[in-house]
């Protein structure tokens, strides 16, 4: 991608991430969706860090590549736990928070073990391979979990519009990234096209969340069955 476009996307991303936190604070939703907002704040600092490293060492430098993948893995784990808090919101009336936490930790440990089993066959740079693979696997696990959560929303007739939009936008984001990684694994020569797309996809989530926090009040309601592709 041309340098100007990369910088523009970076700027839009950083502004949108800041907008999520500011909108949530202004609308009194910061504490209600605490992990989501902390994830956005973390993403904002990581993006600023990435920008600094790129301007100091360059986009193709080893420093940037290491910083990018390690920070991405940490952020993905954070987003995974943020998704689990959305489960807690949906299942709040069932007092299932303990089970959600336990399930989330077990699934994360399972994903980490599976990833380790896959990468231990390669001898060189085990930790770096592990970190990259873990991110990719967590995107897919996150996608499946979001789909299950969407199913639960439809089944339990959850009507909170803001919560529904947060879940759906997260689903779109996870599917875009999981599909992107899958294409890159299937056709490695296409990586030059699909790696820059990650930055474009990355702008979607903060913009969607900023919209949900700013435009939709907590008391806004929707009929989720009307949103489903297959009417229920």
């Amino acid at each position: 991608m041309p340098g100007l476009l990369v910088n523009l996307l970076w700027l839009v991303g950083i502004l949108a991430e800041a907008a999520v936190v500011v909108c949530a604070l202004k609308k009194g939703a910061f504490r209600r969706y605490l992990l989501l907002n902390l994830y956005m704040a973390g993403l904002l600092f990581v993006e600023l860090g990435r920008y600094r490293i790129v301007s100091q060492y360059g986009l193709r430098s080893t420093q940037f590549i290491y910083f990018y993948y390690y920070s991405d893995a940490i952020l993905t784990i954070f987003l995974y736990f943020a998704l689990c808090t959305l489960y807690s919101h949906v299942f709040s009336e069932m007092n299932a928070e303990r089970y959600v936490k336990l399930g989330a930790i077990l699934l994360l440990a399972g994903t980490a073990l599976f990833t380790y089993a896959v990468v231990m066959q390669s001898t060189a740079k085990l930790l770096t391979h592990f970190v990259i693979e873990l991110s990719q696997n967590l995107y897919f696990v996150g996608l499946v979990l979001t789909y299950v959560l969407w199913g639960a929303i439809l089944k339990l007739r959850e009507t909170r519009a803001r919560l529904i939009q947060l879940v759906l936008s997260l689903g779109v984001y996870f599917s875009l990234l999981a599909a992107n990684y899958a294409i890159r694994n299937l056709y490695p020569p296409l990586s030059t096209v699909f790696i820059p797309l990650v930055q474009i996809f990355g702008v979607f989530l903060p913009l969607a969340w900023a919209y949900a926090f700013w435009r939709l009040p907590e008391e806004a309601r929707l009929v989720p069955a009307r949103l489903a592709v297959i009417p229920r």
Binding site: A16, F140, V172, L176, A182, L207, A210, R215, R226, V229
Partner: protein, 133 residues
């Protein structure tokens, strides 16, 4: 093999999430009544038609951009494109799908008109603030 399964699942889930997300954006704006002024400008009275979408979007581009609306209008633009593709392909064989795509396209236009109204109100506020200062 694993990557192929992940790709297929991701694309199927993406379509479902994207359609539901777009419809949630529309549903949040569909109850918003249009002012007489926007009705006059867009020609939308009671129900909107998909044919007017491009014209309403052109009007939208004449107003100052609002960052919080950008994501919504882009998502609905992509959804409108997807509906157009469905209408030109599968819906030709399934008449009920044709009627459904028409309704959805009309609702996309209504969403764009509501966004236009918000942008006009935003521009007015900015203009009033400038006059005061």
């Amino acid at each position: 093999m694993m990557a192929a399964i992940i790709l297929v699942c991701s694309v199927v889930f993406l379509l479902q999430f994207f359609v539901s997300y777009s419809r949630s954006l529309i549903a949040a704006s569909i109850k918003h009544p249009l002012s007489a002024e926007v009705q006059d400008v867009t020609g939308i009275k009671d129900s909107a038609s998909g044919e007017d979408f491009d014209r309403v979007v052109q009007l939208l581009h004449l107003c100052p951009d609002r960052p919080e609306d950008r994501n919504g209008i882009q998502a609905i633009g992509a959804y409108f494109g997807l509906l157009g593709f469905l209408r030109a392909s599968v819906a030709r064989l399934v008449p009920s799908l044709l009627a459904w795509t028409e309704t959805e396209r009309g609702q996309c236009t209504y969403f764009a008109a509501v966004t236009l109204e918000r942008r006009i109100a935003f521009s007015r506020d900015m203009f009033a603030q400038q006059l005061e200062s």
